[in-house]
Symmetry: C2
Subunit: 532 residues, 2 copies
């Protein structure tokens, strides 16, 4: 490490890292060159200091007025908008993602999400108050009382950033401090965001350790962090390998950890859909699978097709698009090596490359737009290997002999974030849909019709989650407010507690006049009569 390493944000101070174990730089993916600024790899002492400072802050935050939390989230969104250009410059340098529409759109998504979180904090409905006035037992979802540790992924420098993204917004809305672990692919963008977040913390008078920033640490420290007695929970978005290690450490001591790991997002193209609109489907698939080089958690990596001339024509039409399109820049060298490895796994298990299949030389990180195919029988024999995630512009077609085999394939799918069925618009496929849907439904968090899964709307009805191994628990989502907030809460019951000692949400008067509460079995916005 050097004097010139960027500072960390610990316990309300921007400062040089204490006893760092090294330093690192991010690369510019467009050129493959290292960027000039270096960042420290924090040591154990620093991380523990952050945990303790967050725990102190949590003691204040847990009873901070909702309006103050909301003011912070709104102010932070304003500050991001004010610095949008420099943020986009930084993210472009570090990610190679297109400035427009992608990075610009992502800043809007991020500020929109922060403002939705502000609104949820203000409404306070995430607290889900329940009042049994007869027995005087009252319950509420409460803050965790310790840090929410957030590990952000490489592919969304804003909307999933550990200091501005969905986990961050959900954790803060529910009055928890955040320890942000930057993704090492975009430390500079994370630093800029943290500066703005910290400015908003100071302006709105939250405890200074409400947000803290560490760029990197060794794996063993990560395991200690997610299992530390003083933290509240962890939100992680990233690779399955890293996620499972953190999960094991957290599970062992009963610390909640919410993981979004890997997903191949199967798409079923039913016979009628192919007969009806194969060119359109080829276009949709191409766009979704190669959009920003396919680096989405919900990238449609697996397509199940019935063996037929139409399927062959679909494959041909898709192949042409994949082959003719210019491969985009990938987020980092690890993405390239991950793709090489995934291609090896897929081809060794019997998938044949139709187009692409290799990295592209000539500066920066690139991989050819790639399609593979395999027949249903072979897929069923190697179902595990052939569901290896290839994070990038890669799709695998499975050609199924008949409807029965399509169902067998569906039955072999691992847990995924999404699953999609395209069918004939006038109902020709409906009988088969009815057989397929239950199998797919139970293996995915979000089921789609006639639409590619790559758009993840910030909607209250979103499930950006799914059965293991796409996440660690099928009942939670990392996108969508207020549902995503629930992850960072704990259920507190008050039994025979004296009136003035209840949190405001549980006292007899409705604290906002509008808060919905379950009072004696009925949802109500009324006060509880004072004889209770």
């Amino acid at each position: 490490m050097t004097q010139s390493d960027q500072p960390v944000l610990i316990a309300g101070k921007w400062r040089a890292a204490i006893q760092p174990t090294g330093s690192f730089q991010a690369a510019n993916p467009t050129t493959g060159q290292m960027l000039p600024i270096s960042y420290p790899i924090s040591g154990r002492e620093e991380v523990i200091e952050a945990v303790e400072a967050a725990h102190q802050a949590a003691q204040i935050l847990r009873t901070t007025a909702p309006e103050k939390i909301a003011a912070f989230l709104d102010r932070f969104a304003d500050l991001i908008e004010g610095q949008r250009e420099s943020l986009i410059d930084s993210a472009y340098q570090e990610s190679g993602l297109p400035r427009e529409p992608r990075l610009k759109g992502e800043t809007s998504r991020t500020t929109n999400q922060l403002r939705q979180a502000a609104q949820a904090a203000r409404e306070d409905s995430w607290t889900n108050p329940v009042i049994d006035s007869k027995l005087n037992i009252r319950s509420i979802l409460a803050p965790l009382g310790g840090a929410v540790v957030v590990f952000g992924p490489n592919n969304f420098p804003f909307a999933f950033n550990s200091i501005s993204g969905g986990d961050f917004a959900a954790a803060i809305a529910s009055r928890n401090p955040v320890i942000a672990k930057a993704n090492p692919a975009h430390p500079g963008t994370t630093f800029l965001l943290a500066q703005l977040a910290f400015q908003a913390v100071q302006e709105t008078g939250l405890p200074e350790a409400t947000i803290q920033l560490i760029y990197h640490f060794e794996n063993s420290i990560g395991l200690e962090l997610v299992s530390h007695p003083l933290i509240g929970a962890t939100g992680f978005t990233g690779s399955r390998a890293a996620g499972l290690k953190l999960k094991e450490a957290a599970d062992r001591v009963g610390k909640p950890i919410y993981l979004e790991m890997s997903s191949v997002n199967p798409v079923f193209m039913l016979r009628g859909a192919l007969e009806e609109r194969l060119e359109a489907l080829a276009g949709e698939y191409f766009t979704s699978c190669t959009l920003e080089s396919g680096q989405f958690c919900t990238n449609p990596g697996l397509v199940i097709l019935p063996e037929s001339p139409q399927a062959e024509a679909f494959i041909q039409a898709t192949k042409e698009r994949f082959t003719n399109a210019q491969p985009g820049v990938l987020l980092g060298e690890k993405v390239v090596t991950g793709l090489v490895e995934a291609l090896k796994t897929l081809t060794e298990a019997g998938a044949e490359v139709i187009t692409g299949g290799h990295p592209i030389d000539g500066g920066g990180y690139r991989f050819a737009n790639t399609l593979l195919r395999v027949d249903g029988e072979r897929f069923l024999r190697h179902a595990k290997e052939l569901q290896a995630e290839a994070f990038g512009p890669v799709g695998l077609f499975i050609l199924a002999r008949d409807e029965q085999q399509i169902l067998e394939i569906a039955n072999q799918l691992e847990g995924n974030l999404t699953g999609t069925i395209y069918s004939h618009t006038s109902g020709k496929d409906d009988a088969f849909y009815q057989r397929l849907e239950p199998l797919l439904r139970q293996r995915v968090g979000r089921l789609l019709n006639d639409k590619m899964p790559t758009g993840v709307a910030v909607s209250p009805a979103m499930q950006h989650g799914g059965p293991f191994p796409s996440t660690g628990h099928p009942g939670f989502t990392s996108v969508g407010i207020p549902a995503s907030i629930r992850r960072f809460t704990t259920l507190h019951s008050y039994d025979n507690v004296r009136p003035a000692r209840h949190p405001l949400e549980l006292q007899n008067p409705n604290p906002t006049g509008r808060l919905w509460r379950l009072i004696d079995g009925d949802l109500s916005q009324a006060d509880v009569p004072d004889n209770n």
Copy 2:
């Protein structure tokens, strides 16, 4: 095993166990004699068969009409009432718990709970429908699509029984099949309950594998069961050692598991409360701690007192009650050996026995009503050992030097189901309450004032759960409807799905006319207009 072993209930058939690995009998705790009836220890093949049959049943149940589920739960409650006398006879023989008021009261609690679950199934509000009509994204909490495996504890032969208790009711209300693993302390009662449940299944036309019963299996099979790909989740109430092993197995493969393990349920008696009403407090404490031999998850095992003449008088008054009362019967030999072990741990760590401290000879399972004491300083030095759960009529008093030490003790408490503060009724202790409450609040699921924790009301506002290690996740409760139901659901989102393909709860018309849905951000019982 013998021909005369009782039958298991697998895949809709009462039958002799297939390839059992042994058999066992329960004991009559009052005499210590084995009861004559023997039960099989099921082998792996039988357990896997149950998993597969449940998975098949789950495929039907997940779309079964709420009314049909409700009818089953109501009918089962009726049948229990019809057989109440024989059920109580059986439970008395196997548990030694008093017929009245305890076992009779427990049957009422059980049927009440089943009927509350029926009502929740009928109302369907546990599905928590969310509709974003602009984007046509809709979400719902859905059944898990596989068995909920329920391990019941020894101490509630009805209300927490794996085939009639809280986990059972919650799992069925959310349309999941149940594989009940009987507690080996009361297999006969469980057998009787399963007969009634199965009769109700048949009468109401649910899939026959909706409920299945296994009495016992080797530990390794339990680990395989809770991690089987075809199960949905597990509900466990029992010892920490067994719970943690099951948790590890389930966590490794991302299968939800909800555990209620151990808890010492700290009670803080503040100075003013002791000054005001120490005799009354001694009476309350004695009653709660020795009620039915103290065999409650929420038994108040730890009492924190400020060093004072009043505290000494309280201890003296409590001691007299403990010493003079006749020790009750314990549930089994394991409870006695567990108490001997716990007493060893506590005394080796420095706790002094005030009264009791030993098993009682002369037939049946009994242990002397026991009190111990330790000073605050020693507690702080051996906080882990001195929080060992002594499941039975045992209380440990901690004498704290001053208020600061009381706070330090609170800071060392593990996660507990409950925490209680007794304070002066006219507010004399309020300043200290304000300092103590935040520390205790964050370490317990249910916070009580001026009331012992042993009553666990089946209330919507109940939290019968808490931070690890009292449970595995602080956000869930095993008692209280509808909250307890949430454990056995998964979050399903529908994105751009065609109208008729939605589950009823997400279609535009309100399915019951009364179901609350979050529609475009507002809670509503209205239909969604059909242009959406």
